[in-house]
Symmetry: C2
């Protein structure tokens, strides 16, 4: 089969399967039955680990959040210079968006399916977005940028534009515009 059953303990198999299906097909369209079938897990086991589907959605986003934090921490440590790090982050967004499996931002996509801003899933999304903004802000401030807060807000726009555009438009046409966009926003 094209998608073999994930290995390891049941909880990991559930989360790995949910991540793949939620991201590629959406949260509401993918049912619990399908997840437990493809994760090769009993229904009781699923509800043992996740009290409700929304908890699984939250766990899926939290795991993606942690993954991104880890990747960014590694990048910051490896590069050092804040502006070079920023440029690398945006190049990475373009590379990622050009991959075949790319389906947009997991957080933005999930938000479209959870309209209530008070919902726990939306709160995880809000935390992710605050972290993203803070990341840009800190990198700019670390380079001595005179207008770090507003520039971080504009970089958030570019970020959102890359992930939306890579999904809905032609990623290959988008890619060469990324470096230029960052340069103009940073007024280099």
């Amino acid at each position: 089969m094209s998608t073999p059953t994930p290995q390891g303990p049941a909880r990991n198999r559930i989360l790995a399967t949910a991540t793949r299906l939620f991201y590629s097909e959406g949260v509401h369209t993918v049912g619990i039955d399908r997840i437990i079938a493809e994760a090769a897990v009993a229904k009781a086991t699923f509800y043992h680990h996740f009290p409700a589907k929304d908890e699984l959605v939250r766990a899926y986003l939290e795991a993606e959040f942690a993954r991104q934090r880890g990747a960014i921490d590694a990048l910051r440590a490896a590069i050092g210079d804040p502006i070079a790090t920023l440029v690398k982050i945006f190049e990475g967004l373009g590379d990622n968006g050009a991959s075949a499996a790319f389906r947009g931002c997991p957080f933005t996509n999930a938000a479209a399916e959870y309209p209530d801003p008070a919902h726990p899933v939306r709160q995880t999304i809000a935390e992710y977005r605050r972290w993203s903004h803070t990341l840009f802000h800190d990198l700019l401030a670390g380079s001595g940028h005179p207008d770090a807060d507003r520039t971080a807000t504009i970089l958030m726009m570019i970020r959102d534009g890359i992930v939306v555009g890579s999904d809905l438009d032609d990623p290959k046409a988008l890619r060469p515009a990324i470096g230029e966009a960052v340069d103009r926003v940073l007024q280099r």
Copy 2:
């Protein structure tokens, strides 16, 4: 009640109700039964006008597309100068995003619920996005901009960032950054 039954012939009532519900709550979460109830229309009448729910989703997006085209045409005719028009469009995006009912871009939100790029709904979305890019491109080219195509792509990023950010972040914090973002992208 807070949302009175729309007036006019059945098809209009269906489309008006669907527009309100699809936009505010999402496409998959809102069922046909709810639309026909709130539009005060019989089920047979619904299926007389729309052969399937997806056709209604398409009609909802097509109507929004036509509405935006009309608004932009009026703006272009009223203002004349292409760069002033561009600035006004982005100010309008910010104003719109700050309104209480704002829930993001109908097209981007719908795309999150239709992962298959070959789906008719996705084709309508793709048309809308091509039109948006062409709009920016033509306004830039009309002002003699030397790099209209790439700059239009970057303006698309800003556009997506405004609608996503207005929905998921604080629209009031975003708003003052919009003019600055456009200025930097246009290198003014």
